[in-house]
Symmetry: C2
Subunit: 223 residues, 2 copies
DNA sequence: CTGCATCCGCTTCGATACTG
DNA sequence: CAGTATCGAAGCGGATGCAG
């Protein structure tokens, strides 16, 4: 990409991550390391040569690392470096900003629940669940729905609908993303009628506790 | 821009703000509304037809608003809508991520202090200064330097060096941006030897108090 | 199958010139 | 000052080919 040639942290950042597809590749790798073909699956429409080129650029920028797997699986895996992983903060804000757009123009793109799985995976990755669960929950956002299974050893996420979830959370995309990125508390979301939690009070309380562990609200600073 | 056609808040956001120059235009407008030519000045290298087209796209996306000024100044001003202003959170994270890049490749782009003025302006825009100041400070980052004038009615920022600043803050770009976006406290920055505050203790304490009002540390959540 | 490289038509960008 | 018009260059998207 042509550089903006400006001595400014934003311009410098965009020199590296401003190219088409670059942030979406990072988005994919934020879930877990992936192979070339896995990435293509998650990025419908990308030309293979472009993916090759982007991966090279991201490797040069020390955002992505290419690792050759040992012989049994003669293949290469791409994963984020620490600097690449730091982009989760950028993507979190991009997602928060973009979520309302999903509610506005809900239905012309291919709809699958992959995006919800992604956010749930990121949200619950390192959240402690001791003393919580076992319980199951479903998150419904328009046509998308995923399942959560909370156990003492962590939260597992599935794109399949759960049989009989203890709690069903229903929200629009904006507030689902806000909940899953810690921008809003469950109580607050309910107070605004922005989310519904259907289920027995005890289970809802447990989910509240779980969601509260995702993180603090966004920085209120004016920068 | 061609749409990613994916039902995902990140992809939808990038459909709108992922085009070349788009976020830099928003960056300019975050300081204050600007006219076409003001924008060109802040975006060296942009072609005039591209700026025209981007402004139109951003207007359609309800990020930018075009306002015709009344007759005396027969001109148009571009300013951010609320949705556009909300992009400050995205740009804050982009800046935090990109700041270390400035320290790595310090010196091949045109260097001016405009970028520091921008961050300081954003940082101190709505910060209360009652009981603080009057005092002056200088922030030095490599070849760039700006001046701060703290008074009871607010903080004014200048790209000119102050004559005899009460305090001189010296830091690398990474930590200067971290300080000005509230990602790190002054005490913490000094403890890491990431920033120096030179001046009498009383004045430094006042600057500490000022910087502490910028905002809380970044959200620690793992999304 | 995975991980590319090459070719080609199309879109977007960038530089410059020009106009109300 | 605030754009529009033009045109070559670069980047993108899709198809295809191919080695390991």
């Amino acid at each position: 990409m042509r550089s903006y040639a400006q001595f400014c942290p934003i311009a410098r950042a965009l020199d590296v991550i401003g190219e088409r597809w670059a942030l979406l590749i990072v988005r994919e790798l934020l879930i877990h390391p992936a192979r070339f073909t896995d990435l293509r699956r998650g990025l419908p429409g990308i030309a293979s040569n472009l993916l090759t080129e982007r991966l090279r650029t991201l490797e040069e920028a020390v955002i992505v690392e290419r690792t050759e797997l040992p012989p049994p699986a003669a293949s290469a895996v791409y994963q984020l470096t620490e600097r690449g992983f730091a982009l989760r903060h950028v993507l979190r804000e991009v997602a928060r900003w973009g979520a309302p757009l999903l509610d506005e123009r809900p239905n012309d793109d291919a709809v699958d629940s992959h995006w919800l799985v992604r956010f749930a995976t990121m949200a619950f990755r390192d959240v402690p669940t001791a003393e919580l669960g076992p319980l199951s929950a479903s998150i419904r956002v328009g046509p998308s729905a995923i399942s959560l299974f909370v156990a003492a050893n962590g939260v597992s996420i599935s794109a399949q609908p759960a049989a009989n979830p203890n709690v069903v959370i229903t929200a629009d995309a904006e507030h689902a993303v806000a909940l899953l990125t810690g921008a809003i508390s469950p109580a607050n979301a309910r107070a605004q009628a922005a989310a519904r939690f259907d289920g027995p009070g005890g289970a809802v309380a447990q989910l509240d506790a779980l969601l509260a562990r995702i993180g603090a609200p966004p920085t209120p600073n004016p920068s």
